[in-house]
């Protein structure tokens, strides 16, 4: 089943199918226009861009019957499918580009190096050294034997983006070109504005361009699980939209919530930008029949994919600073140079996580199983829920037992405004049940691989050089100061407190 998850999808889903004829834009509940537009028997037909010899036909050829789609371990793949990655120079963008190339996709991408600039501006660097883009492209050609069509473009540069999309006519667009940092967006007004301008306005412009140039192309948009916040009622974090059997009761009446957007409770101006994106994308699908998967990704960690492992020149970046380092990545860097793993506040915060390699598997599955015209759907891309204090214990255990590192843990004053004790239930059913996703990476194995890479002497030196950037020095009020140390302890000596996460797959 896992490999055949998209076998029954049809031309209706296929980006090669150009919709012709009687397309009828309206909202749920809006009356059909009967003034001549919907003549009896006038159906929606398509023309296949890849198989023009078929002429006009009803969109009902299944992927498993079509010669353009070929089976693979991820499902049916559109031959030489053209995928454009926005933000291709980043941690995820670069990793996905390699994976797609290795699977036979035609990859194009753009980036304006915002991530490199932001990290440099904050006085840090990627501790895993990475090449310049020009050199990266050569390395890919050497190792994987294929070209990436790359262009340096800012997401806000409408005319250049439009020109590039028109030239490539991508069959899927993966949107990773956002500034992904909550603390960065909270530092001061300039940072907050920069994050929201890039993320919100960049995405809004992209939607208008897609409407005009590639309306049948699916948009796979990276959101974050943080859009939902951590509801203190314990209500589950559904996958963006309420399932049909969810109801709301008030006094003696009851209504279905089916298909309505679930509440969002962002926890920084960065998270707000992602929520705004969600609504902009949803509306674009509704008004213009664009199609999109909004991916609510958990906190990402890891260094490994099959392609990255092929050659050191192919490695992706790895940030450890307070702004761009994700929590497991920071813990691992701390463990390597003998700094206690740093928890904020009580350390009982619970988050959803996914390893780099598993996230890439999900993305491939989403790319090859496009939504239908006008379909907006949300997936929670998560493979496990962990309490941060327990994660610190796990990193410490791997570091101590496998590498003799003598890892300690400490708690400092929380620079953020967030609940540090809260219930947490996440629903993540669509990726495993609809797209055939099975997580492959065990948390402890990936931590072990990460420590091993970060212990390489060049990388360890690069961590030492920037170790001061790991500690948070900016609060959510924009105040700059050292956080107070609350406690330092040996792993395994503390009782784990707080709520137990509930993971509903």
């Amino acid at each position: 089943m896992t490999n055949l998850h998209n076998a029954k999808k049809t031309c209706w889903n296929c980006p090669a199918a150009k919709l012709m004829g009687n397309v009828d834009f309206r909202a749920c509940g809006q009356a059909r226009d009967t003034l001549g537009k919907t003549a009896e028997g006038e159906e929606i037909l398509i023309e296949c861009r890849r198989r023009p010899e078929l002429g006009y036909f009803e969109p009902n050829i299944a992927f498993e019957q079509c010669s353009e789609w070929e089976p693979s371990e991820y499902g049916y793949i559109l031959k030489n499918m053209k995928v454009m990655i926005l933000g291709i120079d980043g941690y995820l963008g670069w990793t996905l580009a390699l994976k797609l190339i290795n699977l036979g996709f035609q990859v194009s991408g753009l980036d304006n190096y915002t991530r490199r600039d932001c990290v440099m501006e904050k006085g840090s660097h990627t501790v895993v050294p990475i090449l310049r883009m020009t050199e990266r492209l050569i390395a890919v050609k050497e190792v994987l034997g294929k070209d990436i069509n790359f262009r340096r473009i800012d997401l806000n540069d409408v005319s250049k983006i439009k020109e590039f999309i028109e030239e490539i006519k991508p069959e899927a667009i993966v949107h990773y070109a956002e500034i992904p940092s909550a603390p960065y967006s909270m530092a001061n007004m300039e940072h907050a504005v920069k994050v929201q301008e890039n993320n919100v306005l960049g995405t809004l412009k992209l939607l208008w361009i897609m409407k005009e140039v590639v309306p049948e192309t699916s948009l796979i948009k990276l959101g974050t699980l943080g859009e939902y916040g951590t509801p203190l009622t314990g209500r589950p974090l559904f996958e963006g939209l309420f399932p049909a059997d969810a109801t709301i009761k008030w006094e003696d009446r009851e209504w279905s919530l089916g298909g309505e957007t679930t509440p969002r409770d962002p926890v920084s101006f960065y998270h707000v930008s992602k929520v705004q994106d969600t609504f902009n994308v949803l509306e674009a699908c509704k008004y213009w029949w664009l199609r999109s998967y909004d991916v609510m990704q958990g906190v990402i960690f890891g260094v490994f994919t099959e392609e990255i492992a092929m050659d050191k020149k192919l490695r992706t970046r790895f940030d450890i600073d307070e702004w761009f380092g994700t929590v497991i990545n920071r813990f691992v860097a701390q463990s390597v140079i003998g700094i206690p793993l740093t928890l904020y506040g009580k350390g009982e915060q619970i988050r959803g996580f996914i390893a780099l390699n598993d996230a890439m598997q999900c993305m491939v599955r989403l790319i090859i199983s496009p939504p239908e015209p006008g379909q907006y759907d949300v997936v929670n891309q998560v493979s496990g829920l962990y309490k941060l204090s327990e994660l610190a214990e796990t990193v410490a255990k791997v570091g101590n037992e496998k590498f003799n590192l003598n890892v300690k843990i400490q708690r400092i004053e929380n620079p953020r405004v967030e609940a540090d004790t809260h219930p947490f239930e996440v629903v993540s059913r669509k990726l495993p049940r609809v797209f055939g996703f099975t997580p492959q990476v065990e948390l402890e194995d990936e931590i072990e691989r990460m420590i091993k890479v970060l212990l390489e002497s060049e990388i360890k030196n690069r961590i030492e050089m920037k170790k001061h950037t790991v500690f948070p020095v900016t609060t959510w009020q924009g105040e700059k100061r050292e956080m107070r140390n609350l406690e330092k302890y040996e792993p395994g000596t503390k009782e784990i407190k707080g709520y137990k996460p509930i993971f509903d797959t």
């Binding site: 159906e43 298909g259 015209p373």
Partner: protein, 105 residues
């Protein structure tokens, strides 16, 4: 199951069981969400009621004939006659009530 303009007569009008039809479209988020509940009800009422879906973009004749003006529309047809019709997402309980009412008659 999906029905269309062509097999509507055979699958719905000539059906021995009463039929619950959902008129839907790919761009209708509530319609998409209803799938799960319909599957559940199908299992629960197996052999008692037939549950089908009809896409209003890909089929024009039937939606026009039944004057479908908004989606999702749920309609129950028994012996060629419309027994019930409701617009908008419905809770599982509401759908159950509709089905039970038909089965009681």
């Amino acid at each position: 199951m999906d029905v269309n303009d062509k097999n509507f007569e055979e699958e719905v009008l000539k059906s021995d069981l009463p039929v619950l039809i959902e008129f839907w479209a790919s761009w209708c988020v509530p319609c998409k969400a209803m799938d799960y509940v319909l599957n559940e009800l199908e299992k629960e009422f197996i052999g008692k009621i037939k549950i089908v879906k009809l896409n209003v973009d890909r089929n024009k004749i039937i939606p026009k004939k039944y004057e479908i003006s908004g989606i999702p529309t749920f309609m129950v047809i028994k012996e060629r006659k419309i027994k019930d019709s409701k617009i908008g997402a419905l809770s599982k309980n509401d759908l159950k009530k509709i089905i039970e009412k038909i089965l009681a008659n």
